[in-house]
Symmetry: C2
DNA sequence: GTAAGTCAACCGTCCAGCCGGTATAGTCAC
DNA sequence: GTGACTATACCGGCTGGACGGTTGACTTAC
């Protein structure tokens, strides 16, 4: 009877553990030992599922990229059709969820992101692909050029501020930013 | 007659070397040995000037924060007075320099930034202080609330995209983003 | 019995920090 | 002005610990 305290199959548990460690102790805290221990597995057990640290991080990143793509797609689907649909989806993604939901998403993404970038920037490939698709979508959005990209960049900026703890806008401030950026949705150039 | 090949006092040379290493080989390439060698100093010599790796990174960050504050201040000074002056300075900072100048600044900042964050997020304090001052300035800018913050966030987003190599807007795209964000400067709400 | 999954001990490498040294320059006593 | 002493700047070998990865044995489940 293996384990007992923890749930799910070992693979998922290991990925979750790795993510949690990065969130709690930073990228440098992510060692195979630590991840194994937190997942309730020995180091050998971990290496059975992920043959190297790089494989572990690749696993983390693949899962993340998939989530991101789905999350964003469902955000677009939730917007009425018409010009600026994708841009509106981005605003909704960045501003219309509860603060807790946004922070949770940001922090998970940040952990995976930073771990991958630190180990080898090339590992970010899957995320880059997802982002490239978003940019394509926002370009074909029916808004004047640059408007969608500007909205997207503002969302990215908030993400970065959260990742590095640079600043944390208050709720009223976020609301005002949302309103300001919404002006860019008006088709009148 | 010590040294010969390299210029400047040892302290500055070491800081420059550390920065160059992070840019060339990433945060994990920054070791005391490597920094010392690149600066044309022995490890012992480096440790004479910076008593620990943390002290070295703190030095890097202090220098960076100072530059940033001065750079931004001079950008504000270059804008005509009136509402939106600080926001206009931010746009100028992010869009009106030559691409090479912007990339150079971004890459230097990114190197210091990532090194500090990786070693200990708390080290970012000085940068956070500079950014907090910018946010205060943009709030007292005479623009409707949120507009300045939105412009600032968009600039931050472009910075992040560059840091992590997520995407690289073409010059026409940047120009269009600039135009779009400039709409937020119009006082008519 | 055999294959999948797990374990613990071990190895080689790398790195931060330490420490005992060297060399040059300045200062003071006499 | 010369010898004793001190401060500043720098050197490079060493070490102890951490980390990624390997090995081989054990334990179920089928």
């Amino acid at each position: 009877m293996p384990d007992g305290s923890v749930s799910g199959d070992a693979r998922t548990r290991i990925l979750d553990a790795a993510e949690a460690i990065v969130r709690a102790r930073g990228v440098s805290g992510l060692t195979l030992d630590a991840a194994a221990r937190q997942a309730g597995v020995s180091k050998g057990g971990l290496l059975y599922h992920f043959g190297s640290k790089e494989a572990l991080i690749t696993g983390l990143l693949g899962r993340m990229a998939e989530w991101m793509a789905l999350d964003f797609e469902s955000c677009v689907a939730g917007q009425p059709e018409g010009p600026g649909r994708v841009a509106r989806a981005m605003l909704a993604w960045a501003f219309e969820l509860t603060p807790d939901a946004i922070n949770e998403r940001c922090d998970r993404a940040a952990a995976v992101f930073l771990a991958a970038f630190h180990h080898d920037p090339a590992l970010l490939g899957p995320i880059r692909a997802v982002i490239a698709r978003m940019r394509k979508a926002v370009e074909a959005d029916g808004l004047p050029p640059g408007h969608g990209h500007a909205i997207m960049a503002a969302g990215d900026g908030l993400f970065m501020a959260r990742v590095f703890g640079l600043y944390a806008p208050t709720e009223p401030e976020r609301h005002a930013m949302h309103a300001a950026l919404s002006r860019l949705l008006e088709v009148a150039s």
